[in-house]
Amino acid sequence: MVYIWGGGFITVLILLVVIGYVLVQGIPSITLDFLLTPPGGGLSGEGGISTVIVSTFYLVVVTIVILVPIGLGAAIYLAEYAPDNRLTRLIRYGVETLAGVPSIIFGLFGFALFVTALHFNFSILSGALTLVCLLLPTMIRTSEEAIKSVPYAHREGALALGVTRWQMVSRVLLPTALPGIVTAIILCIGRAIEETACLYVTLGGSAAMPSSLLSGGRTLSLHVFYLAMETRAFDKAMATGAVLIITIIAINTLTNWLSYRFQKRMRGTA
């Protein structure tokens, strides 16, 4: 018994240390100034994180705009339209496999295809496209689950009224699965923000304000990395880390709340 409580205790301890330390060290440095000035570079890491916040936002938006149509479309295809043949099984296997591949390998792919072969160079575009590839399995899987969890009875009920398949999908299935799909999107946003490895080799390290899709940029996670490795400004690194953690906690809470609403809707008590 001691062992069990001990294990739990140590886990909580680790959690507290990691998150708590960063928050405690970092929050004091989060001033409005910090959020609004661009990083100054140099060994002492002057400045703030304004350009970084903008880059992160820009990157996430571009990624989601490309990811959601493709991922949702593929999820609808797999859940509703795909015939039960070998090709479909192959696609599913591919999706499942890619879900487990480490992000640095997606980074390699992105580097080879987007940065080099397509000459997008280190840019938001390269980073976004790489992220799309990384997150596609997650988006497809989670959306498909949301669609599949709509009770079969609703499909039957709709079709039996003489509506086309697409009408059934768009007017009954998707609206009912919407909270689940939104959860999937938010999940992907969260993962995009925390991603580092694959962006490290596709975004470049520019700390300037991105002016177009082809500008380089830095996300919050990458900025923490650069600050830690290239400067002595650990306080700024902690502050950036704290901003990251707070953002992720907010996203997590939102996702949990949405999941809860989704369950309620399914049970008809919404």
Binding site: I70, L90, L98, I105, F109, A197, V201, F225, G241
Partner: protein, 288 residues
């Protein structure tokens, strides 16, 4: 009638999305192979995998040191994470009162979402100086293992907890009914029954550990040497790729892609083992 037209159109668009996804999946495989296979041809598979010297400047491309680095760090993290993780899983699944669980479970889920660089940062600021007190310069396999443990814990905890919960209640009731204590029930009935799920969680955790990049770069020292003690620095396969890809060309670049292939195959194998073992577990349970 327009609704039939829409139906047709929708079917095509949706099928194209499915195809696009498949094409992307295929493209990833193709590109990495295309850029990595030349290295195997130039360097020779055996020399590549088992060569002990990695000096691109002198056309030496042996990745054994990095394989060892990755393996040592992964095993180190698992040695620490598995006992802790299983303990915490038992706690959440069986022992903790509801209120405690309500707080603890979201905490574990939160840990999953923390970016690796944050773990790396804390490792850099807290662990490395601490290890320095013991010996060496702090950037070490030990520090890396501890950081990796923290990252792998949530995976092991959540999947193990789910497996323990999935054990049919009849097992537990049967044991308690013949007078076993709670702890005996856990140790001799529940854990063995959940063994395949717990095993899967460890394998998946291993996959996460092997694939981790940024946090490793921050605390492991990145020296291309064989770590002889936990206090020595090392370099992981992933770290090698990330650190050198920006300026590598020709065979060097190809060698890095080849490292990616090695990683990919390894993780594929790990994931397949996890899936098979999970399937076998549920199969065994439905048989009884």
């Amino acid at each position: 009638m327009t609704r039939y037209f829409t139906d047709r159109l929708a079917k095509y668009i949706v099928s194209i999305s499915g195809a696009v996804s498949f094409v992307i999946l295929l493209a990833i495989a193709v590109f990495i192979l295309k850029d990595g296979l030349p290295a195997f041809k130039e360097i020779g598979v055996f020399d590549f995998l088992f060569g002990t010297v990695w000096r691109p400047g002198q056309e030496q491309y042996g990745i054994l040191t990095m394989i060892v680095g990755s393996v040592v760090v992964t095993i180190g993290s698992l040695i620490l994470a598995v006992p802790l993780g299983i303990a915490c899983a038992i706690l959440l699944a069986e022992v903790a009162p509801f209120k405690v669980r309500q707080v603890l479970r979201p905490c574990v889920e939160l840990l999953v979402g923390i970016p690796s660089v944050v773990y790396g940062l804390v490792g850099l600021v807290l662990l490395v100086p601490a290890v320095r007190e013991i010996g060496g310069n702090g950037f070490s396999v030990l520090a890396a293992s501890i950081v990796l443990m923290a990252m792998v814990l949530p995976t092991i905890i959540s999947i193990s907890e789910d497996s323990i919960r999935a054990v049919p209640p009849s097992y537990k009731e049967g044991a308690l009914a013949i007078g076993a204590t709670h702890w005996q029930t856990i140790r001799q009935v529940l854990l063995p029954a959940a063994k395949s799920g717990i095993g899967a969680s460890i394998v998946l955790g291993m996959g996460r550990a092997v694939g981790e990049t940024m946090a490793m770069i921050m605390v492991i020292g990145n020296s291309i040497v064989f770590p002889k003690t936990p206090l020595d620095p090392a370099r992981t396969l992933t770290g090698n790729i990330a650190v050198e890809i920006n300026y590598a060309t020709g065979v060097h670049e190809s060698a890095l892609f080849a490292t990616g292939i090695v990683l990919f195959i390894f993780i594929l194998a790990l994931n397949s083992i996890a899936v098979i073992s999970l399937k076998r577990g549920t199969h065994a349970q439905t048989l009884t």
